[in-house]
Symmetry: C2
Subunit: 376 residues, 2 copies
Amino acid sequence: MREITEEHLADIAVGAAILGAGGGGDPRLGELLARAAIRSHGPVRVITVDELGTDDLVVPVSMIGAPTVANEKLPNLEALPAMLRLARRAVEGEGPRAGGVLHTMPIEVGGIAALLPIAMAAELGLALVDADAMGRAFPELQMTVPTLYGIDASPVVLADEHGNAVVVEAVSNAACERLARTVCVEMGSSALIALYAMDAAQTREATVTGSLAHAEALGRAVRLARERHEDPVLAVEQHLDARRLISGKLVDVARRTEGGFSRLEARVAGLGRDAGAELTLSSQNEHLVARRDGEVAATTPDLIMVLDAQTGTAVTTESMRYGMRVVVVASACDPRFRTEAGLALVGPRAFGYDLDYRPVELLHPATRADELSCSS
Amino acid sequence: MREITEEHLADIAVGAAILGAGGGGDPRLGELLARAAIRSHGPVRVITVDELGTDDLVVPVSMIGAPTVANEKLPNLEALPAMLRLARRAVEGEGPRAGGVLHTMPIEVGGIAALLPIAMAAELGLALVDADAMGRAFPELQMTVPTLYGIDASPVVLADEHGNAVVVEAVSNAACERLARTVCVEMGSSALIALYAMDAAQTREATVTGSLAHAEALGRAVRLARERHEDPVLAVEQHLDARRLISGKLVDVARRTEGGFSRLEARVAGLGRDAGAELTLSSQNEHLVARRDGEVAATTPDLIMVLDAQTGTAVTTESMRYGMRVVVVASACDPRFRTEAGLALVGPRAFGYDLDYRPVELLHPATRADELSCSS
């Protein structure tokens, strides 16, 4: 992928929404933003991490806040240039990173957050690096691969739709999260954010590369399956080597927005060959723990994804409604999140669940998607 | 006053505590900080606003938060250089102000806030401008004379004792307050703050000049009255041309710390010639409204000051206790706060009191301090 045009956006949006693992907000919103920006400013040039110049600077951008709010309160792209100016000024004040070309990048490949950097790149004429910091979405800003490499999220720049901006320079990425989340809530629980400015070497080493291409390929697989009247859910499972946790109906959804997060507990009652089984989902923007009939079926940092049973598209945490027919699947996260440090950062206990992490492919050795090809 | 040495600090602290109008925190804490800094780094050079060079930059520093907390959680002066570096970088990024000499200044002449800039000036080898932005203390950061001149509080830099820093660049000083207050609460309800960076012309026009000299002279008047076995409360009244509202005993103090403020409702039962009378005080860090027997006796923006009846020193909002013998006095604020714009910013209605402001000298034409010279 050398360029993102309007034609790529629908596939990227579908794929990124799935990889968002419940989080990231309504991907159509991000798609609209990106489409408007590309229509005004032309296609976005995409570069790989290997194409970065030594002195280049990559400033990822994203949104922070509760998707329930982001869906109501559109990001104001007019805040982008000021935000980027602040971010760059803050970063250049650090010294050695100055002088190179500025690029942007997604922090997470989920939902709006994957599409917003495309809009930003178009709007500001920047190239977009095909990588992200998670290979999925996570609810807190320190929950990234760069954190595992000791890379500072600071300076973190937040901007709201009124033109207010806040720069956080904290002593740890966890302290950044705490302060930025507070600011985000005061900004109305949804804000634009720039963070994890990285040089070329850091970007090469400490990101999940090829994320946008990955999202686009996933979205394309779903679209092609539908065009061919094949099962789009199966297409997702095959593309991600995902395990099916249940196929059924959403029967209970308890949701609240608090502290800048969308929190949710949901129950899926099995249908078809899953009749009689029940899956419970615990989520904080993203789905964190899935239990089937009381037994842990998948946990963070593996990706737990709720798909519309008919279309194969993502059902985000905030769009879950009673009665929806869904298939819940899970797939492996970036291997760096499976290390001791990775699990301390994004494993079940990092979210307050007293559970040991077990890789999804060990929890479900016998239920590979390709062996369970019935659609619900 | 050309220089502040250790010898000046006690008088400045006593005077600034009185001018704090209940706010500003324990002045002895500020005094100790300033004393330690001067002991380590030598006296602080004080300049008047007329001595500023055209290209000079004045970055005032202060504390933000609830004094109840500041008294427990000492400010970490080690955070000062990083905070000032951030403040200066943020300001210089704006362009035209760069190149001059950097000075500091108090934002408010009340309590710790008057002393902290002395410590900072000593610590960093800066000159201190003899001026402040209020001529008293106020609870919110937009409540300044510079605001009345359209001067931006942004960039506002906050720093906590762990080394975390946050820069707020907001579209209005009220938005700065909202965001900075939120950050302050997350930082533990007390933080160092740098704000209202001004050039020489702005500092000359939009500040209350001579504040430190004023505080020192007031403190000296109290000290000399005590040394001469005269009435120190009367000395304050005469020095400030203040009106006595009541002399009596604190009989009811309801205090709570919330949203980064210390809030208080207190009652003073009159003694001596005020026997039978009652004064109620409503405070938010500072004293905002005093009612005597139900009638408004003084309101913000005039200074309402609670003095220890024996020593003439300030009784701060958070140190008020049942049974204390106090004299409550009031004096005129800076005339710019008495304009329509000034009252919209800091008048009773700005704090939610549905009261018209009347200047304290009109409310009490017949009770001039010098005609009421009895001590309680």
